[in-house]
């Protein structure tokens, strides 16, 4: 198990190389020159040249790539080109609002989805099943932008149940700001989640061991909650845990619409202003998180499924 974990952690190295490479190609090779952008509308040729020199953009491409790789491994991302803020500090500041939005919403939606999926699985083929499935599919078919526009207008403005936008970092005040975007998040993820979990649970429900459990005289609910769910946890864990790294990056649209000062907004801003160091930092962080959480998935497997041994 230890060797497995170490091996997987070492796998981060080639992946970070790859991620740096993709981001590098996209932004250093293909994308526009950030210098005139940073200097504003009155920039002179000389100034642009000087700034490019300072940013290291006049170096040969390979040297630039090595710079990218180096900063990815040393975590020294420097400062944002666009805002001149320290990137680590920006991420530190943005992480909390993003997490206060995404983590509760994510947890509630996951638990709710599993419960609904169990209900649907219990009543499979019956009216409740069809109704919930249809609602899930229908809910999933509406554009997220439409949800945001309408919910903000209706629930926050017309009915006044929630704050329209903004954020306070203190607990529990932030709840009043993240409640509505959180609800939108839940509504958006409920559809795909319930459908996925339902499939997973139904895949298990026809297994032989379920028949054994019934033959013991267990009631249908015990069978579902104890025997089926525990086995269904394996694909559910994969599905759920692998989403977590992307929670850290926040929810781009929701944060933007509800003025939540999280990482999603930072990313969006960085993309809009060709702020390469920030984009790079976010990409590297997300890939590290991705690998760590895939690893966590594997470790959780060993807990959920005694058959799995990590080698």
């Amino acid at each position: 198990m230890t060797t497995y974990i170490i091996r997987r952690l070492l796998y981060m190295i080639p992946v970070i190389f790859g991620v740096s490479f993709i981001i590098f190609v996209l932004f250093n090779v293909v994308a526009g020159d950030p210098a005139p952008l940073l200097l504003g509308k009155h920039a002179t040729v000389q100034q642009i040249h000087d700034l490019r020199e300072q940013l290291g953009l006049n170096k040969p491409l390979f040297a630039q790539y090595m710079d990218v790789v180096k900063s990815a491994f040393t975590f020294d991302f420097g400062r944002s080109w666009a805002t001149r803020q320290d990137i680590i500090e920006m991420i530190r500041q943005g992480a909390w609002p993003s997490l206060t939005l995404t983590i509760p919403a994510f947890m509630i939606s996951t638990i709710l989805s599993i419960l609904l999926a169990l209900v649907v699985a219990f009543y499979r083929g019956k009216g409740i099943d069809l109704t919930i499935r249809f609602l899930c599919i229908a809910g999933q078919s509406i554009s997220s932008v439409a949800y945001i526009l309408f919910f903000q207008y209706f629930f926050a403005y017309k009915l006044g149940w929630f704050e329209i936008s903004g954020y306070e970092p203190e607990f529990p005040v932030f709840l009043s700001y993240v409640a509505l975007p959180g609800i939108i998040w839940i509504v958006l993820s409920l559809g795909p989640d319930v459908r996925f979990f339902r499939t997973v649970i139904l895949d298990e429900i026809y297994q032989d061991y379920v028949r054994t459990a019934r033959a013991k005289g267990l009631g249908e609910i015990t069978v579902l909650l104890k025997h089926v769910l525990r086995n269904a946890m394996i694909p559910i864990i994969t599905y759920v845990v692998i989403q977590i790294p992307f929670l850290i990056l926040g929810a781009l649209l929701l944060e933007s619409f509800f003025s939540i000062p999280g990482l999603g907004g930072i990313t969006l801003n960085a993309l809009n202003s060709s702020d390469f160091p920030v984009i790079k930092a976010m990409a590297v962080l997300s890939s590290i998180a991705y690998i760590l959480f895939s690893l966590l998935t594997d470790v959780l497997y060993t807990l959920a499924d005694p058959r799995v041994k990590l080698k």
């Binding site: 002179t44 000087d50 936008s165 907004g265």
Partner: protein, 587 residues
């Protein structure tokens, strides 16, 4: 267990919704909205409007624009008086007000703010020229102050920039007096001293905070920063050590009646606290304002139609709540630029004229500006000297027959032989709609337009590399002088300079070079008017509109008057708490 957990979470949410921010009536608070993340408070990077608005709350400059007087007029701020200018127009001598204190900061000994001195200005100006810092305002001073460029170049490759070395053009006379010496006449120089780029910073603070300086502003201004999260909220309190600065007691003729002189002679600032929320999306901006949780909302020039019905009135729902509307011509010009390096446009003035004639300004004004904009005849907006009221461009005003005729003469009868033209614009909703409108107009005379949307970096890249064929864009004045506009057509300023359409006209360039170094006066105005007409007749661009700035503000906000260069405005605003209590009942 899980059910109970969910219940708990929901209970929390509902509880939290109940305990959201309450309106506070003990203090005079202004709740403002800014639509962009604020980059930071370093004056030398004050290139964008929103950052400079925040900088202007904490820092101050030698001069400022008078809050009430129009046309815009410079008045002394930190300067004791307007400077003495030498006869050759090259030396400016300033005296600094005495007893002005920097705000308290741990960067100072004992944490007490020290007095502002002449050295602080010399230091602040040098920072703008510091080659390591790459100020976005350097263009203002580039080549203007004697010895400054040399100092900049000398230090470009130095390990550490040497601030001790004397610069000829920046001379301290005594603790409260210093002189600028210009390298060549530059009549717009004084405007630079009212712009946030040149606001005074204290060396101790800069050195104490190093790269974090932008997050710890310490100025002499009316407000002191309490809290700064560059993507969420900025909170200021009244600066307790602010000097005695009074609300002006004179203004335009109409100001008295508008109640703008009610607070005349009162000590500034008038409110205790300012909260600036960063709200990027227009829907929440509007909803917040209509809920009363924002006091003031500058409507983006391109999409104000939400607030206004049938022309110029406030939406009745809003009027009922006591909301008020301000609509004032702003100093800007929208246009569709031709790229003059493209042989298609370079020598074919008739093509340009034909296209200009095909454009439906009236309809555009109606669709996009609710008829509030002024149709541009040439490059300069009204309100700046050089604008010639009686000039009507022969190529503005839709005339399809004429346009078709000119198009034929241009060699493309009914658009035949003309390739599809590419129109670049930024990706915002309204820019896109304007592009669609333009394409629709051109189709009427047989010209095919392909619209390409870009992010701002992309568009900048395309114009800088001269690869944009046509692009829709606007220019707002940096300072109220025609030079700032004419420079956009001045040949030597071609891309990546500010002349992004790469227009070149020897006569125009000659007159511009001459006029730009003249002091204000009838002679210069005459030259400006000449340039104005040239710019109209030559159709280097298809001029669009001089837009109107629209602001909506709540009934309890007092002393609001539109000012184009508004970074120092907030200190003049007042809030009527009694009125607020009353009005909020209607929300």
């Amino acid at each position: 267990m899980s059910m109970r957990f969910i219940g708990l979470v929901f209970a929390f949410m509902i509880a939290a919704v109940g305990c959201s921010r309450e309106q506070n009536f003990d203090e005079k608070v202004l709740n403002l909205i800014t639509p962009q993340k604020i980059k930071g408070f370093d004056p030398i990077y004050a290139a964008d409007l929103y950052a400079s608005n925040e900088i202007g709350k904490v820092y101050e400059g030698l001069l400022e624009f008078h809050y009430l007087k129009r046309p815009y007029e410079l008045t002394p701020n930190l300067a004791e008086s307007m400077p003495e200018v030498s006869a050759d127009g090259l030396t400016y001598t300033f005296k600094v007000k005495k007893g002005v204190l920097f705000q308290d900061s741990k960067a100072f000994p004992n944490g007490k703010g020290r007095e502002l001195k002449a050295d602080d200005f010399i230091y602040s100006i040098r920072r703008m020229a510091d080659p390591k810092l790459q100020s976005t305002g350097w263009w203002l001073l580039d080549g203007k102050i004697a010895g400054l460029n040399e100092w900049r170049d000398k230090n470009a490759n130095a390990e550490k920039v040497n601030y001790d070395e004397a610069v000829e053009g920046l001379k301290k006379v005594d603790d409260y007096t210093f002189q600028f010496k210009l390298a060549k006449p530059f009549p717009q120089f004084l405007y630079a001293l009212a712009m946030p780029f040149t606001f005074a910073v204290a060396k101790e603070v800069v050195e104490h905070h190093g790269q974090e300086f932008q997050n710890y502003p310490v100025g002499t201004g009316p407000f002191k920063l309490d809290y700064f999260d560059n993507s969420n909220r900025i909170v200021y309190h009244r600066n307790p050590t602010f000097r005695e600065k009074l609300y002006p007691s004179e203004g335009e003729a109409t100001d008295e009646a508008a109640g703008l002189l009610a607070d005349a002679g009162k000590k500034l600032p008038l409110v205790d606290k300012v909260i600036v929320n960063i709200v990027v999306e227009s829907q929440p901006q509007w909803l917040n304002f209509q809920k009363g949780s924002a006091d003031l909302l500058g409507v983006p020039k391109d999409n104000f139609d939400q607030a206004i019905v049938a022309g110029k009135n406030l939406h009745p729902d809003m009027a009922k709540k006591g909301i008020r509307l301000s609509m004032v011509n702003s100093l800007d010009t929208t246009y569709v630029a031709f790229n003059h390096t493209d042989p298609l446009f370079k020598d074919n003035i008739k093509l340009r004229q034909a296209m200009s004639l095909a454009y439906d300004h009236v309809e555009s004004n109606k669709l996009f500006y609710n008829n509030t904009a002024t149709i541009a005849q040439s490059i300069i907006p009204p309100g700046i000297s050089g604008h010639k009221k009686e000039y009507k461009s022969p190529y503005i005003g839709r005339n399809l027959e004429m346009a078709k005729k000119l198009l034929k003469e241009a060699g493309y009868p009914e658009g035949k032989g003309l390739p599809e033209l590419q129109y670049e614009t930024v990706g915002s909703t309204v820019s896109r709609q304007q592009g669609e409108f333009f394409a629709k107009n051109m189709a009427d005379i047989g010209i095919k337009i392909r619209i390409s949307t870009n992010t701002w970096p992309e568009l900048v890249k395309k114009t800088n590399t001269k690869t944009a064929q046509m692009f829709g864009i606007a220019w707002g004045a940096d300072y109220p002088d025609a030079e700032n506009f004419f420079g956009l057509l001045y040949g030597p300023n071609e891309s990546p300079g500010s002349n992004s359409s790469n227009y070149k006209n020897a006569t125009f360039d000659k007159i511009f070079a001459q006029a730009s170094i003249m002091q204000d006066g009838p002679e210069r105005t005459a030259l400006y008017e000449q340039l104005y007409e040239m710019a109209g007749n030559e159709v280097p661009w298809i001029y669009g509109m001089h837009r109107t700035s629209v602001t909506v503000y709540q009934g309890w906000v007092k002393n609001y008057k539109y000012i184009e260069f508004n970074h120092t405005q907030v200190q003049y605003l007042n809030a009527d708490l009694e009125a607020k209590k009353e009005l909020l009942k209607k929300f």
